[in-house]
């Protein structure tokens, strides 16, 4: 079992795919260390949100993902 990382909006372009999978378990530092460099840098932007299994995290650095979890990276939503 793995962690699925879902990339929304332009983060999918930066990451090169709409989702990727990583081995489990991982905390925030371990998760970001496994990402492509450009994506890891983008994820550090405080305007980007993180959801764990569909629930937004108030503090993304507190993330702890285990096997079967879905982590979503959400950039700012588009305006009108």
């Amino acid at each position: 079992m793995v962690i699925t990382v879902v990339l929304l909006g332009k983060l999918a372009d930066i990451g090169g795919a709409p989702s990727l999978t990583l081995g489990a378990p991982r905390d925030w530092a371990e998760l970001t260390a496994a990402l492509p460099t450009a994506l890891a840098a983008a994820i550090g932007d405080p305007r980007n949100h993180v959801a764990l299994n569909g629930a937004l995290l108030a503090d993304k650095t507190a993330l702890r993902a285990v096997a079967g979890d879905e982590v979503a990276f959400l950039p700012p939503v588009s305006g009108g």
Partner: protein, 146 residues
């Protein structure tokens, strides 16, 4: 009557608004807004993506807030995702109330929030390339009205 939906296929707002109006017997007014893909800026296509676990639940939370804030009899909120062409509808919000101000304000409130605080990401195909649409200062200003 409350009808909140995400649609993946083209829809005809008229086919939703008629039954919605009929379902709210005794209403005093209905206000409807339909947003379409603009055709004046060289845009060939617009693609909306969403995140299933957050987007529709977020629309329901917005509807809850509209019902708390305005004296509504009914609310219809329908949003497209996927690929759209100029002239196709993106969003339809219709509110039914005893009095016009509640219906008009509820639609305005829902639209400002759908445009700037709902979980949608948009990109446009123009000049042969895709361009992501970034948040605009206008959107923040629109939200601050509420």
């Amino acid at each position: 009557m409350r009808d909140i939906r995400l649609l993946t296929e083209m829809f005809l707002p008229g086919t939703l608004i008629g039954p919605f109006t009929q379902a709210n017997k005794g209403l005093g007014g209905v206000c409807t807004f339909v947003g379409e893909v603009r055709g004046d800026t060289g845009v060939v296509a617009l693609e909306l993506s969403h995140y299933e676990p957050l987007t529709l639940p977020g629309m329901h939370q917005l509807a809850d807030r509209a019902f708390e804030r305005f004296a509504l009899m009914g609310l219809l909120m329908v949003h497209r995702v996927g690929m759209m062409r100029p002239g196709e509808p993106i969003v339809c919000v219709s509110a039914a109330a005893l009095h016009r101000r509640d219906a008009i304000d509820a639609v305005d409130f829902c639209m400002d929030h759908l445009k700037s605080a709902a979980w949608f990401w948009k990109r446009e195909l123009r000049g042969g390339a895709w361009h992501w649409i970034e948040p605009r200062a206008d959107d923040t200003r629109d939200l601050a009205r509420w």
